[in-house]
C-alpha cells in the first residue's frame, strides 16, 4: 500500500526511463526489423511470381 503511495507521489520515476543511447539503439533495431520485413515481403512476392508465373491468377474460385 505504502509502495503504491510512494509510486504515486513520484510518478515521473515509475517504469524504465530509456537513456538517449538506449533510444538510439532501439530505433536502429526497429529500422533494421522494418527493412528486413520489407525485404521478405519483396522476396516472397518475387518468388511467388517466379514459381507460379501467370498461373498465380488462374485458380478455381
Amino acid at each position: 500500500m505504502d509502495d503504491n503511495k510512494d509510486a504515486g507521489n513520484n510518478g515521473e520515476q515509475d517504469g524504465i526511463v530509456l537513456t538517449e543511447e538506449q533510444k538510439r539503439r532501439r530505433r536502429a533495431r526497429s529500422v533494421a526489423i522494418g527493412l528486413a520485413l520489407g525485404a521478405l515481403v519483396l522476396l516472397f512476392y518475387v518468388v511467388t511470381i517466379v514459381k507460379l508465373g501467370p498461373g498465380v491468377l488462374r485458380r478455381p474460385l
Partner: protein, 327 residues
C-alpha cells in the same frame, strides 16, 4: 529489476568443471544491443564460407534453377547457418567469456542477453528451413534442419565439451552447405555432392587445429578438450599432417570424377601440395621458435585454399555454361 541467475545467462555453464563464472551478471535492463550485435551473432565470417560453398553446390549441380529461386535458397542456407551460429553463442556464452578470442562477443560482453540470442536463433532456424522447403524442395530443407541440429545439439551441446574429436565429427555441420545447394537444384544427394562434403569435412580438422595450437591456453582455461589440450601439441601437429594427407587427394576428386575441369584439377593439385608442404613443415618444426608462425600461416592458408578451390569450381563451371550457350 530482477537479477538473472548466471545459469540463465550461460546454459552450458554447468557442463565445464573448470569454467570461470560469467564475467558479469545480467540485469533485465532495456537492451543496448545494436544491429551490429545481432549481425555478429550470425558469425558473418563463417557465413561467408557457407555462402561460397552453398552457391557452388547450387550452380555446379546439373539442371536448371531460376536465378531468383537460387538466390532465395542461398539466402535460406546462409540464414540457417547464421542461426546455428547464434544458438552456438547462446549455449557457449560461459566458454566465450573466458577466452580472449571470444570474450567481446555480444553475449559475454553483456550487450545481448542469452534469451534474446536464443529467440533470435530459433526464429531464424525455423524461418530459414520452412522458406527453403517452400522455395526449393523439402529434401534441401531437411538437410538444412539436420545441419542446424547437428551443429547446435551434436557439436555445441555434446561433442565440444566432451571429446577432442569434437572438431572432426562436428566438422560435418560445416560440410553440408554444398550438399544442401546441390539438393536445391537437383532434389537429390549424389556422389558429386558427397565429394564436396568430404573436402570440407577433411579440411576442418587441420584448419581448426592450426588455430587451436595458437589458442591452446584459451581452450585449456575454458575447459574445452581441444586436441592440443588433451593430447598435446606434438600429437596435434601429427594429426594435422594426417588429415592434410587425406585432404589433398580429396580436393582433386571433383576433377577425377569429371564434374570439374582441368583448371580446377591443376588448382587443386597445386593448392593441396602447398597445404601438405605447410603441414609437413609444421610437423617437422616441433617446438622450434617459428612453429607458431607456421601454424598461423597454415590457418590463414587453409581458408584461402578452400575459398580458391570452390571459387575456381564455380567460375570454371559458369565459363563452360557460357561457352556452351554461345557454341
Amino acid at each position: 529489476m530482477s537479477l538473472m541467475s548466471p545459469s540463465a545467462m550461460s546454459p552450458g555453464a554447468h557442463l565445464g568443471a573448470n569454467l570461470a563464472q560469467p564475467v558479469q551478471a545480467q540485469f533485465a535492463e532495456p537492451s543496448l544491443a545494436g544491429v551490429g550485435d545481432y549481425i555478429a551473432l550470425l558469425k558473418p565470417r563463417v557465413m561467408s564460407l557457407v555462402v561460397v560453398t552453398g552457391l557452388v553446390g547450387i550452380a555446379v549441380a546439373p539442371g536448371h534453377l531460376h536465378p531468383v529461386l537460387g538466390f532465395a535458397a542461398l539466402l535460406c542456407i546462409a540464414i540457417g547457418a547464421g542461426a546455428s551460429g547464434a544458438l552456438n553463442m547462446w549455449y557457449d556464452a560461459d566458454i566465450d567469456a573466458v577466452m580472449t578470442r571470444t570474450r567481446t562477443r555480444p553475449i559475454p560482453a553483456g550487450r545481448v542477453t542469452g534469451s534474446e540470442a536464443l529467440a533470435f536463433g530459433m526464429t531464424l532456424s525455423f524461418g530459414s528451413v520452412v522458406v527453403l522447403g517452400l522455395v526449393a524442395n523439402w529434401l534441401a530443407a531437411g538437410l538444412l534442419a539436420f545441419t542446424i541440429f547437428f551443429y547446435v545439439v551434436i557439436y555445441t551441446m555434446w561433442l565440444k565439451r566432451s571429446t577432442p574429436q569434437n572438431i572432426v565429427i562436428g566438422g560435418a555441420a560445416g560440410a553440408f552447405p554444398p550438399m544442401i545447394g546441390w539438393a536445391v537444384t537437383t532434389g537429390s544427394v549424389s556422389l558429386e555432392s558427397i565429394s564436396l562434403f568430404l573436402i570440407i569435412f577433411f579440411w576442418t580438422p587441420p584448419h581448426f587445429w592450426a588455430l587451436a595450437l595458437l589458442k591452446s591456453d584459451d581452450y585449456a582455461r575454458a575447459g574445452v578438450p581441444m586436441l592440443p589440450v588433451v593430447s598435446g601439441r606434438a600429437e596435434t601437429r601429427k594429426q594435422i599432417l594426417l588429415y592434410s594427407v587425406l585432404l589433398a587427394p580429396l580436393g582433386v576428386a571433383p576433377w577425377l570424377m569429371g564434374f570439374a575441369g582441368l583448371t580446377y584439377g591443376i588448382t587443386a593439385i597445386a593448392g593441396g601440395a602447398i597445404f601438405l608442404a605447410l603441414a609437413l613443415r609444421l610437423f617437422r618444426a616441433g617446438e622450434a621458435p617459428g612453429s607458431d608462425k607456421i601454424a598461423k600461416f597454415l590457418f590463414g592458408y587453409s581458408i584461402l585454399y578452400l575459398f580458391v578451390l570452390f571459387a575456381v569450381l564455380l567460375i570454371e563451371n559458369r565459363v563452360n555454361v557460357l561457352l556452351g550457350s554461345i557454341g
